[in-house]
C-alpha cells in the first residue's frame, strides 16, 4: 500500500468519525422527539388535573397520584371495554390467521379451475379503501340482523385480503417435496395442510398474527358502525368517547392519558416481544 493511499485512508477514517458523531447527534435529538410524547403521557397520567394543566411539561408529578387510574376503573366501564377488546381481538386474530392461511394455501398449491380468477378478485378487493366501506358495511350488518352484536363486530373482520396474499406468497416459497411424499402416502388435503404445511409456515403465521392482533386491537371505525350499546364498547371506542366528549370543559387529561397508556400496553408488549421479527421483517436476510 502506498503512502498516499495510507494517508487518504487516515483522512477517510477521520471523516467517518466526524460524520458518525454528527449522525449520533441527529439520532439522539430525533429519538427524544419520538419518545418524549409517550414519556410525558405516562408521567401525566400520575398527575392531578390542576397539576397536569398548570405544569404540562414538568417531569415529576406533584403530587404524584394514581387517582386517574382509580377514576378510570370506577366510573367508566373500563373493564367492559377491556373485556370486549380482548374477545374481539382474540376471535378475529385466531380465526383470521386460520382462514387466511387456508385460502393462501389453496391459491398457492391446489390446482383447480378458477383459481386465477379467485386470486385476481382478492387482489382487486384489497384495493378498496377501508374508510369508504364504513357506510356500506353498516347497511349490510343491519340487513343481516347482526347489528349491535359480537357477530357484527367480529365476522366482517375475519378475513383480510392482504393476509391471504401474505400466506400465498409464503406457501409458494416453501419446497413442495414434503407435501408430495405425504400425498403419495394418501393423506387427505386438509391433513397435509394442517399437520405438515402449517407447522412449516410458522414465520408467516407469526407475522400475520402480529398484524391481525394489532389491527383489530387498534380498530375504531368498524366498531363505531357495527354496534351502539355501551356494553359492546371496545377500548378504542370507549376511550374515543371519553376523549371527544369534552374538548371545551374540564380537560381530564390525566384520566384520558391513563386510558391511552393502558390501552397501548398490549400492542406495546407484542411489539417488544416480536421486535426483532417486526423490524427485521422488511430487511430480509440482512447481515449485521
Amino acid at each position: 500500500m502506498s503512502v498516499a493511499a495510507m494517508r487518504s485512508d487516515a483522512s477517510a477514517t477521520r471523516r467517518r468519525r466526524v460524520s458518525n458523531t454528527l449522525t449520533y447527534g441527529f439520532l439522539a435529538v430525533l429519538a427524544i422527539v419520538y419518545i418524549f410524547p409517550f414519556v410525558i403521557a405516562i408521567i401525566t397520567s400520575f398527575k392531578t388535573e390542576p397539576d397536569a394543566t398548570a405544569n404540562a411539561l414538568s417531569l415529576v408529578p406533584h403530587p404524584g397520584t394514581t387517582i386517574a387510574f382509580h377514576q378510570l376503573t370506577a366510573d367508566n366501564d373500563f373493564f367492559t371495554w377491556v373485556k370486549n377488546s380482548v374477545i374481539v381481538t382474540l376471535s378475529v386474530t385466531f380465526l383470521r390467521v386460520f382462514l387466511d392461511s387456508l385460502a393462501g394455501y389453496a391459491l398457492a398449491r391446489l390446482r383447480f379451475r378458477g383459481r386465477g380468477a379467485a386470486f385476481a378478485t382478492i387482489v382487486a378487493v384489497m384495493a378498496v379503501p377501508g374508510v369508504v366501506l364504513l357506510i356500506p358495511k353498516f347497511l349490510i350488518i343491519r340487513q343481516l340482523g347482526i347489528y349491535d352484536t359480537y357477530y357484527g363486530m367480529i365476522v366482517p373482520l375475519l378475513v383480510d385480503a392482504a393476509g391471504v396474499f401474505i400466506m400465498k406468497n409464503f406457501f409458494e416459497s416453501i419446497p413442495v417435496s414434503v407435501e408430495e411424499s405425504a400425498r403419495i402416502d394418501g393423506a387427505k388435503t386438509f391433513r397435509i395442510f394442517w399437520s405438515i404445511v402449517l407447522p412449516m409456515a410458522r414465520p408467516a403465521l407469526i407475522t400475520l398474527f402480529i398484524l391481525s392482533f394489532q389491527g383489530s386491537w387498534n380498530e375504531l371505525g368498524h366498531f363505531i358502525i357495527s354496534a351502539q350499546s355501551a356494553s359492546l364498547n371496545t377500548l378504542t371506542k370507549g376511550v374515543a368517547q371519553l376523549a371527544s366528549g369534552q374538548l371545551g370543559s374540564g380537560n381530564r387529561y390525566p384520566l384520558k392519558l391513563a386510558a391511552s397508556t393502558l390501552m397501548t400496553i398490549p400492542v406495546a408488549v407484542l411489539f417488544f416481544v416480536f421486535q426483532r421479527r417486526i423490524m427485521n421483517a422488511s430487511e430480509g436476510a440482512v447481515k449485521e
Binding site: 449520533y24 439520532l27 430525533l30 429519538a31 419520538y34 410524547p37 409517550f38 403521557a41 394543566t53 398548570a54 404540562a56 411539561l57 385460502a103 389453496a106 391446489l110 390446482r111 383447480f112 379451475r113 383459481r115 379467485a118 378478485t121 384495493a127 378498496v128 379503501p129 377501508g130 374508510v131 369508504v132 366501506l133 364504513l134 356500506p136 347497511l139 349490510i140 340487513q143 343481516l144 378475513v159 392482504a162 401474505i166 406468497n169 386438509f190 407475522t207 398484524l211 386491537w217 387498534n218 375504531l220 358502525i225 377500548l235 371527544s244 387529561y253 392519558l257 386510558a259 390501552m263 397501548t264 400492542v267 406495546a268 407484542l270 411489539f271 417486526i278 423490524m279 422488511s282 430480509g284
Partner: protein, 371 residues
Amino acid sequence: MRSVRRRLREPGIRGHEARAGWAFLLPVIVILGLFLVLPIVMAAWVSVSDWNGNGSPFGKNAHWIGLHNYRDLLTTPGLDQNNFGEALRNNFYYVLLVVPIQTVVALFLAVLVNRRLKAVGFFRTAFYFPSVTSSVAITVLFTFLFSPSGVINKLLSYVGATGPTWLYDPDGLLHLILKQFGVNQSGGHLAAQYFLGVSYWDWLAGPSVAMCVFIIMAVFTTSGTFMLLFLAGLQGIDDSINEAAALDGASEWKKFRYITVPMIRPTIFTVVTLGLIGTWQVFDQIYVGTKGSPLGTTLTPAYLAFDTSFNQNEWGVGAAIAFILFGIIVFFTVITRVLTRSPDKVPRRRRFGPTGPIGDPKLSKVEAAAP
C-alpha cells in the same frame, strides 16, 4: 416433478383437489363477498335514493332520486355542497403537506439508521414505535400535547414565543402568512366567487392551525412505517457501488443524490402511493379529536360521509360522499401507478405494495417483507 405431471392428468385426484381448493377458499369468498362486494352494491343504491335511515333501504322508505345526492354535493349550492367543499379543501392541504413531509422524513430516518453504528436498533425501535399504537391513543396524546397550555406551548414559551390555541384555531396557514405581508383579510373580490360552495379566498386559506396538529401527528405516526420500507430498499443497494463512488471522491450528498435516490426509486413511488391513499382516508383522528371543529376546518370527506349518514340521517348524501372519495383515491392510485410503470421494472413483490391493503401501510410493509 414427473409425479406432479402424472397427477395433473389424473382426473380423480384433480377433482379432489378442486373440491378441496374451493372448500379452502369458501370462508374467505363468503366473507369478502358478504361484507365487501354486497355492501358496495347496497351503498350504490342508497347513494341514488332518498333513504333517511328508517326501515330497510330496500323497503318503501327509499325512493330512486337519480343523481340528486351527487348534484347536492357538486353543483347545487347549499349546506351539503358547502360542507363537502370545505372537507375537500381541508383534506387537500392535509395531503399536500403530509405526503411530501412524511416521505422525506422517513427517507432521512432510514438513511440515518442504515449506517453501521452501535445502538442503531434502539433508534429504529424508537422511530417505529408510534406506528404500532392506536390512532385513538395517539390522538388523545396529541390533543394533550397541543392543548393551549400544553407541552408544545410551554416549550414555545421558553424561547419567548406565544403558541396558538392549536385545535381551537380555525385560521388558515396561508391566510396567516399573507397577513404578515399586509394582505387584506377580507379577501376582496376573491371572497365573492365560489367553487363547491367555498369562496376562492377560502380555498386559499391553507390548512387551519388546528389541521396542522393532525398533519404533524400523521408525520409522527407514519414516518416509522415508511422508514422500514426505505430501509429495505436501502439495504438492497450493493455496498460496492457506494464504495466505488467514494473512491471517485463523491461527497455524501452526491452519493445520496446520484446513487441512493435513483436506486430506491421504486420504494419512493410505493411510499408516495401509500401515502396518497392513506391521507385521503382521515377518519379516526377527526372522530376522536375535533369532530370537524373549529369552524369545519378539520372536516374531511371520510368524516363528513360518516357524520352526514349517521348523525344527519342523510344516508344518500353520505353514501355519495363515500363514492366520490373512492373515486378520488382510485384517481390518485392510477396516476401514481402510471408513473411507477417507468423504464426500470419494479420487482414483482413490491409491485403489489400500492394496490396493497390500502389505508393500512403497516400491512403492506410486511407484505413487501413476506418471505
